[in-house]
Symmetry: C2
């Protein structure tokens, strides 16, 4: 399509026309969902007027060039209103009638809930309460990094306002002064299984939104003039994020279902659809001529890659891998588009190394891990190389956001510190013991767990250019550097740190347990037992060839040692990798009970993942139980 007009010469379509467009969006949403036999037409009908006015008179977007820097962003946080979104795309000339009719069919990009398979969709939505927080990240980038006047419009449902993540979002939106963001709240009173908590109590929403520092504008969401004024005010606002609280009617425009329970997530049967279309004035083919964005370039250049001087460490020196994360992040700051976020623990994760060096590209997310994740995705939508950090345990708070980032196929980088029982005295609430299982199972994820500062630095550097979700697990305590600074590490790699043709057993560790494996191998060597030691720093994907060779040499005697619960972690990664081989016997040392407080040494001993436990396992596995 061709976008024409500019702010000067453009005549806005009048509101009567826009109201007709809204009816078309309703009709097309019904047609698409009835044809599919599923979908959410009623939830689309309530917001049709809001979206029609927005698209016809306020949105600035070039559908032919979705990467245009100054394009507005339109995010459907209520992703189930996809019939409305796709009907809009048709009205804008971006998809054809024929494609619209492929809604929800296998092979169509017009899926049940939007994903970035569609070029005009920034992020996958459908898990409620996520589109707005991601929009905060996009607006954060627009205002504080790009410094471009594009606007972020987010359509929210009323049911999702019960999600705490929405309030994290409003909080951060006002904290960061995101006047470039407008949330449209489609208050249609009815959720999936019945009335929402507040139904049409718009004051309840208004009071909350205002107390969270946003400007609230309450309107009738079917009054196109009122919508138009609200959106004008929203774009003109200079200080605060704006929240348009729109009273709407679910199923608006078709009297048989208007404001009635039992019509959530149900396509109309064909006969009802026919009556609905008739009541809505029939099928139309109106076209919205969406205004093109003004020209503009981001204040920060993307893709400029000055040489990064990675930190170097002295072999034997004790350095925590979390410190190496911070050092490397600071070094990567030489790239102008590298950005860091943290959940109020930057002095623990060491992201503060970056913060002190590049305060303008560091965002404090406070203790709001969901918003941190969403903002990381949001700035990545704008092309930034975003790293987020908190304790590894607390990424579990944002697991649904990580899951959805996988579905978005977003490229983001996560650093989780304080992994495992190794953390010691703080106790189990602060120990990540299930992060490898949960993160490995996410679509697109890469999982690293380095044992020393050199490998950590190299892997953090690799994360900067890796696609998908890369996760690095770091350790609280400082352990000796074991690699030379010129050693190379790669996605899917592993290191054999000790080996011989006589190896009767292989000890496989990563992170802190690698050090325990090395100590165990030294003790076993004194007893005449040759043990291979493998640093499995890349937990996903794993180095199958190295594992296979170890299995071959040792006649299938592998010991995997991990500071993690037994399910789904490094042990499972090794087993999955070798499942179709002649699979080895795998002795698996992992944390099998609930740890408590204590020193790292006490806790690793109690869990049976320290050097003596590894030595005992090696003796058991090899049958060499005699001393010396």
């Amino acid at each position: 399509m061709t976008v024409t007009g500019s702010v000067e010469d453009r005549v806005l379509p009048d509101l009567d026309f826009v109201a007709e467009v809204a009816q078309q969006l309703r009709v097309d949403g019904i047609r698409a969902s009835t044809r599919a036999g599923s979908g959410h037409p009623s939830s689309s009908m309530s917001a049709a007027d809001l979206i029609a006015v927005l698209a016809a008179r306020h949105l600035r977007y070039d559908f032919d060039h979705p990467r245009t820097p100054n394009n507005d962003h339109l995010i459907f946080s209520k992703g189930h209103a996809s019939p409305l979104l796709y009907a809009l795309y048709k009205a804008c000339g971006a998809v054809t009638e024929a494609e619209l009719m492929t809604y929800r069919t296998f092979g169509s990009r017009l899926q049940g809930h939007p994903t970035p398979v569609i070029p005009w969709v920034d992020v996958a939505t459908g898990s409620l309460g996520q589109g707005l927080p991601v929009g905060i990240g996009v607006a954060l980038a627009g205002k504080h990094l790009d410094r471009l006047p594009f606007h972020v419009w987010v359509l929210c449902g009323d049911s999702e306002l019960a999600e705490g993540s929405i309030w994290e979002a409003f909080d951060h939106a006002s904290h960061y002064g995101l006047n470039n963001l407008t949330a449209l709240l489609d208050i249609n009173r009815l959720g999936q299984r019945g009335p929402t908590e507040f139904q049409w109590n718009l004051d309840a929403y208004k009071n909350r939104v205002e107390s969270f520092g946003c400007r609230a504008i309450v309107i009738d969401g079917h009054d196109v003039a009122a919508i138009d004024t609200a959106l004008t005010d929203a774009r003109d606002e200079r200080e605060r994020p704006v929240v348009v609280i729109a009273r709407t009617i679910k199923g608006k425009g078709f009297s048989e279902i208007e404001n009635k329970e039992g019509w959530h997530g149900r396509a109309l049967p064909p006969d009802m659809a026919e009556r609905a279309i008739a009541e809505l004035g029939g099928v139309r083919d109106l076209r919205i001529d969406v205004r093109a964005p003004d020209p503009g370039e981001p204040a920060i250049q993307h893709g400029v890659r000055p040489r990064v001087e990675l930190p170097s460490y002295r072999k034997g020196e004790k350095v925590a891998t979390r410190k190496a994360y911070g050092d490397t992040l600071r070094a990567l700051g030489a790239w102008p588009d590298v950005v860091a976020l943290d959940g109020e623990v930057s002095n623990s994760t060491h992201s503060e190394e970056f913060k002190f060096a590049y305060p303008d590209r560091f965002f404090e997310m406070f203790i709001a891990e969901q918003q941190m994740l969403a903002a990381t995705v949001g700035v990545s939508v704008r092309g930034y190389v975003a790293f987020a950090s908190t304790f590894a345990a607390f990424f579990s708070r944002a697991y649904d956001f990580i899951r959805m980032a996988g579905i978005s196929e977003a490229t983001i980088r996560l650093s989780g510190s304080h992994a495992g029982c190794e953390i010691g005295a703080d106790g189990p609430s602060q120990m990540a013991l299930e992060d490898l299982a949960s993160l490995r199972a996410v679509h697109t994820s890469t999982v690293f767990y380095p044992s020393d500062a050199v490998s950590a630095a190299k892997l953090v550097n690799a994360m900067a250019t890796a696609p998908g979700i890369t996760y690095i697990r770091t350790t609280r305590g400082a352990y000796p550097v074991i690699y030379d600074n010129d050693e190379e590490f790669s996605i899917g790699g592993a290191k054999v740190l000790r080996s011989s043709d006589n190896d009767v057993v292989a000890l496989i560790g990563a992170g802190v347990t690698l050090h325990n494996c090395l100590a165990a191998a030294a003790q076993l060597a004194e007893a005449g037992i040759a043990a291979r030691v493998i640093d499995l720093y890349s937990v996903k994907p794993v180095d199958v060839a190295t594992l296979r060779e170890a299995s071959l040499v040792t006649n299938g005697h592998l010991i995997v040692v991990e500071d993690h619960y037994p399910q789904g972690g490094i042990g499972a990664a090794v087993m999955e990798a070798l499942a179709t081989d002649d699979p080895p016997h795998i002795e698996h040392l992992a944390v099998r009970g609930l740890p408590q407080s204590g020193t790292p040494e006490e806790l690793m001993a109690a869990a049976g993942i320290d050097a003596p436990a590894i030595v005992a396992a090696a003796r058991r596995v090899t049958g060499m139980t005699q001393e010396g």
Copy 2:
């Protein structure tokens, strides 16, 4: 200890004495943490006055009998203030000086953050923003189930007010009229790495709290008289939850660290501790005589177990396992202490079957999965048999809460519907494809994935009496009932549905893929290939003996088929179980890419987990690639 006095004859300790107690709590918190060499004394000192006044003049608690029905509940949502909590226990005579000095040492129950290893601790805290939502659950039980006048007091830090879960909690507290709950907000201005978002802007908190329907009382948190009045008002409040917003000073009482950055999570060095103790007036040994609770019994009897008539199904009839969940939950409602919660999708998860039958014991949590999980834990603290349900994908929203419930060793039951790509047209945002990995890795978890209505009913029934976190994964679509109603199913069990001594391959499925395995086996049989079929309905723990036998009979030819990503799911469960045997070759069919919309059949075919894919794998594995 002996608790004496009653409301009539009891003379409350005067406020001068209480202020001295507060100083003692500060001193003891410093002594314990300095001795441990770690901990959070400064965060304890800010709240010492609040806690001293509460314990000495308002709390009603029998430390000798923590299960007394009418005991108040005291939850430290800011779990890092454990020095204060443990100092309080000492002041109440519940722990000795000697035990206090074991703080954070290996083997001590006085861990870095509180856990229910301590009999007076309801739930583990330390992941911020969780204690208050759990408190909502406890108060919900008190007000709407027990109907007892006990009060729930929750101490919150200011940093954790950034968590959305806190706002889900205030929202639900006011929605359910929980005047029996008081949150004490310790606004000490400083977080871990510096100032909080709002520092001492108490109005910001007041406005938010009030907009969320709570009564706010703003005080100076070091003015014992003001605290006392506020707590009296809080207990007397008849309508709303009360939030006491207390302006406090971090490190209060020791001038060298008062209101200074850099003292979060740091024990004072011994020399500083000495000066601090001197400034605080030295070591004391004052005793708080906590008022005993009034007698009272819950309105609902616990442990009464009338016979449950489980639903029965006709073999061959198509019934969704989620429907069987709802039917069985309704049947279990015969037990007066069974309670259900749902996240606004009860018509999808089928928990509405229970809701319609027992509306007084059903709690609508709206779309707030974190609060739902926390409330489930909270009602379990009060002894209820609590079941929570939502889409399996959306339990990922509450993963940190599930993790912490594991650390609490709470007994709760979770039902996740709409698992896997089988759901069809709604697309990947609604598909749980990592739930088995993430749930298996949680401490205390049991994971079920039944394939038909009979097994689902039996397993839901087993969940009612199982300890720890039990999770059942249910399927959207309706599939044939394959078991007789008198078939038994158990934790750690499996069913061999088809077997012979000539089996050359075993097909292992669960849930929807079991049906695909059965279809594949029938096809293979026609081609003269004998395939064993195993229903691995108990995914954690798995039935090792049955798997082992299948491996033996088939000479190690296993095929595992799951509607889940390849990492950490059923495949890993099988591999982990057999790792130290002579491990079999395991062909693993799982969802390896990002699914889209489509029919269940299309999506399972695309993922390679349908019957034809299983047949092909079986031919490949057995080398019998010729047609029949």
